[in-house]
């Protein structure tokens, strides 16, 4: 299942859970996944019926070399608590060096996130191949655990708090 937004395919749309009085923090995590490996690995994880947290929103890229700082920062601006880029194993990029470029950009943006006080540890780069369905699920779990431990992105904290206040006032 996927939908198309701004020209990129978004897979695994997550419905907001409603109703719980004190909802546990469920992070929103955006995964920028290369079509040739991670995106296929996600598909495989699906066909293998592997469980992984529903917190992950996957954005399909033609290659992780398409990743740029604007894109990663935008995800944080739009409310992501964590972001990761998943590309092919080093040396196996379909476009030779796209994943190595992505690795550098991720490192650069980590620095920017630290500088602005959002925290570079909310962003990560992973490498896997299309046959690694279980690894895909494991990465999704790892990243969800990491972000849960870190708590909501400082950018979303205020927004979440006021939303919770409104809920409380309304309820």
């Amino acid at each position: 299942m996927y939908s198309v937004r701004n020209g990129v395919r978004v897979m695994g749309e997550v419905k907001e859970e409603a109703g719980a009085a004190q909802p546990a923090f469920e992070p929103k995590i955006v995964a920028f996944a290369c079509y040739y490996c991670a995106y296929s690995a996600a598909d495989l994880a699906g066909s293998m019926r592997l469980q992984y947290p529903p917190n992950i929103r996957i954005v399909e890229l033609p290659c992780t070399g398409k990743v740029n700082p604007q894109m990663l920062l935008k995800a944080f601006e739009e409310g992501a608590d964590g972001v990761y880029v998943a590309g092919c194993m080093e040396g196996d990029c379909h476009f030779l060096r796209g994943n190595l470029r992505a690795k550098r950009r991720v490192k650069y943006v980590k620095g920017l996130l630290d500088e602005i006080g959002v925290g570079g540890e909310r962003l990560e780069m992973f490498n896997l191949s299309s046959s690694m369905g279980p690894r895909f699920a494991q990465i999704a779990r790892e990243m969800t655990e990491r972000i849960k431990a870190l708590g909501p992105s400082p950018v979303n904290r205020k927004a979440r708090a006021s939303a919770a206040d409104e809920d409380a006032a309304g309820g």
């Binding site: 935008k74 601006e77 500088e115 602005i116 959002v118 205020k158 927004a159």
Partner: protein, 222 residues
Amino acid sequence: MIVAERKPLEEILRLIDGAKTVLLTGCGGCVTVHMAGGEKEVEVLASLLRLHYKKEDKPIKILTQTVTRQCEPEYVRELADNVDKAAVVLSMGCGVGVQFIAENFPKAWVVPALNTKFAGATLEAGVWAERCGLCGECILYKTGGICPVIRCSKSLLNGPCGGSQNGKCEVDPEIDCAWQLIHDRMKDLGKLDLLLEIEPPKDWSKARDGGPRKVMREDMRF
């Protein structure tokens, strides 16, 4: 090209502190080419500023506009509408761009987002180095196309000095000795004899020491 580098975010935040609307403006010239202040860098900085203010729960409006060149009046004037709306204009052009916006908009408060470094070249992707000191009277024809004014740490015109060691400058072992480079190149070109000529003291009044400079071409004026 003019090479610049973004200021630390902390400093930029101080420069725009308190403004409700900021015009973040990029330049399509040199700073686009070396990826310090073009359209993309404007987008990235705008995003970082929005993240910061959202985190602090302070509302701010960031307008963005990148013009072809911040050092030419017709392009700078394109900023007029947005300059009017903004309390602070944050320029990602070089120092020339920042000044030229200020000059063209007497009522605007214009601040730099970059530290302007030097006139230089791209050595390889992601690496830029200083090459010209804008001395006003070029002597590259005497030195095999290697500038002693800017590439020799002491701007010696008859080098090298006694500190040149194994091809490196005594100021920093990372820096090539310009005079070693000049010597080696002249040797390769079979023109070592040119270096025997003693270069007289330079007329520094043609450089910055003569005060701010201006170039005028009557034939190009309207």
